[in-house]
Amino acid sequence: MSRGMSRGVSRTARRRLPLNAGAALVFVLSAFPVYWMILTAFKPTPEIQAETPVFWPSSLTLEHFATAARADGFAQFWRNSLLVTLTCVVLALVVALGAAYAVARMRWKGRRAFVLMVFVAQVAPWEALLIPMYVIARDTGMLDRLPTLTLIYFMITLPFTVVTLRSFLTGIPVELEEAARVDGCTRSQAFRRVTFPLLAPGLVATSLFGFITAWNEFAFANMLIIKNQDDRTLPVWLSSFSNVFGTDWGATMAASTLFALPVLLLFLVLQHRVAAGMAGGAVKG
């Protein structure tokens, strides 16, 4: 019996070889640049700029992280970015949730037009709106303030958040809610007790898109924060790594790693929910 099984396994393994080889290739190609970034951050300096690239360092060092963290203003800009990004994400979620619920669960006049508007809003030419946005902020006295950035990032992320949340909502059977209402819940109670818990992972997953967008934004942060240097965000400060750390690639990559870290961690934990939600909603819709 054991002999038969091992033969079966080896046959499947042989059949699966091309498939697994392809999988390995995909893994290497997709992960390598990130691996290279993190690796460089931990490499001893002499091995970083070598004529023959060192793919596996002889030893690891934390020295570059120390350099990056010691750099002037790192903590301050990190805090600003976190503040702006989180506020924008929460705001977008709350606002989008209402809209997504109205679209997914209610029938009303103008619904189609609204859905179309939200979808088309994703086409907005944000780089081109830099100057109009600057003029508006100036004329309303909103220059040089982090809340202005928060509002803009909120609007950049809102359409996608509505579309995705709506997909998630559509994916949750409406019958569950209806059953709860038959049991005597009000509509809002039914939503809170039944749908919301099911939606929670989707909310977190959706917010990651907003997080990435706001976390990365440079152009508005550069032009709208002028005199209050302490209000600068991380991308502005890191925009040109070579300005901050010169040829110190170790420190540059350490700073990049620290910059990427929160997003990477959140995503690794939550990615399958994002995809499942998008797919589920779209399949149904």
Binding site: P53, R111, P125, L129, M155, L268
Partner: protein, 322 residues
């Protein structure tokens, strides 16, 4: 724009399934619920997107440069800005290039994404988790960080790519400068964007594949259908809606892609990687011709909408059926 608020204002909405057991039994208020729920979105969109867009449109029919930005008064010039950019032969090159850029990228992204998704479905559990993690790493890394890494990987001296290619026997890649040659720079950007985008497509499509009931495959196989037949007649129809959505999003994202291009090549060498968003930004920020930049961006939006029209129409039809 057909704003929902005004559309609804014309005629009271049909009795929908508002909060049936709401504490306030007033019928009018019940019908207001959906509008109250979308109000923040609409207000936000009007103030933070609609109004800036109107200002942008206004700017495109004014003479608006650095002086006007500072002093504040800008004379109207009608459609002069549009004539100026439309009569510039460079614009047509850029439009042409943008369509190529979008088409090529989206094609590669969708094909590779689908293949990877199909592969994921067939992988064992461990391997699937490994590959998915790799994809997620590429997907979630902030653009600023990965763009820096890519620039370094493709550096002419001490870049890993040149080292590897030289090792593989392509001696001409020793100290090859990727950003000096238009086509090579285009390739680098293509790789960067495809690399960043495939994970989203693959993971989403894979999730959609999981919703295909196994029994369907089974019965198709029992009917004697081959792998390709099963894919075409069972998998594809179920995948189609997700595929449409993802395709549409990718078109929007690739068409609008700016940060990567600007950071890696700045639109060069010799404009070889200048797409519409880069063109608009260059005109506005380098030449300080905000009026021309606004006009180009208006055209960009129109062009993008034109590309998307088939999908938008389908989407509207679907919404109507629901």
């Amino acid at each position: 724009m057909n704003r929902p608020a005004s559309a609804a204002g014309a005629r009271p909405g049909p009795p929908g399934d508002g909060p049936a057991r709401g504490r306030l039994g007033l019928r009018g208020l019940r019908n207001l619920w959906p509008y109250l729920l979308i109000a923040p979105t609409v207000v936000g969109a009007v103030l933070l997107l609609g109004y800036p867009l109107v200002r942008n449109l206004l700017m495109s029919v004014q003479e608006y440069g650095m002086g006007e930005l500072i002093r504040g008064d800008a004379p109207f010039v009608g459609l002069a800005n549009y004539w100026e950019i439309l009569s510039d032969p460079e614009l047509w090159e850029v439009v042409h290039r943008t369509l190529w850029w979008t088409g090529l990228n989206v094609l590669l992204i969708m094909v590779l994404g689908t293949l990877v998704a199909l592969m994921l479905e067939r992988l064992g559990r461990v391997m699937r988790i490994v590959v998915t993690s790799g994809l997620v790493l590429a997907w979630a890394s902030p653009v600023i960080a990965t763009t820096t890494v890519f620039q370094w990987l493709f550096a002419s001296r001490l870049g890993v790519v040149n080292w590897a290619l030289t090792r593989l026997g392509f001696a001409s890649f020793e100290n090859f400068s990727w950003t000096a040659n238009g086509r090579a720079a285009f390739v680098v950007l293509l790789l960067l964007v495809v690399w960043q985008s495939v994970p989203f497509v693959a993971i989403t499509l894979h999730a959609a594949l999981l919703t295909v009931p196994a029994e369907l495959h089974e019965s198709a196989r029992l009917d004697g259908a081959g792998a390709w037949r099963i894919f075409r007649s069972v998998t594809l129809p179920i995948l189609r809606p997700v595929f449409g959505l993802v395709l549409c999003l990718e078109i929007i994202w690739v068409f609008r892609c700016f940060v990567q291009i600007w950071a890696v090549t700045g639109g060069g060498p010799d404009r070889a990687t200048t797409t519409l968003p880069v063109h608009a930004y260059r005109i506005a920020q380098s030449l300080h011709r905000y009026d021309l930049g606004a006009a180009v961006s208006t055209l960009t939006v129109l062009l993008l909408l034109a590309v998307l029209i088939p999908y938008l129409r389908r989407m509207l039809r679907q919404e109507a059926e629901e």
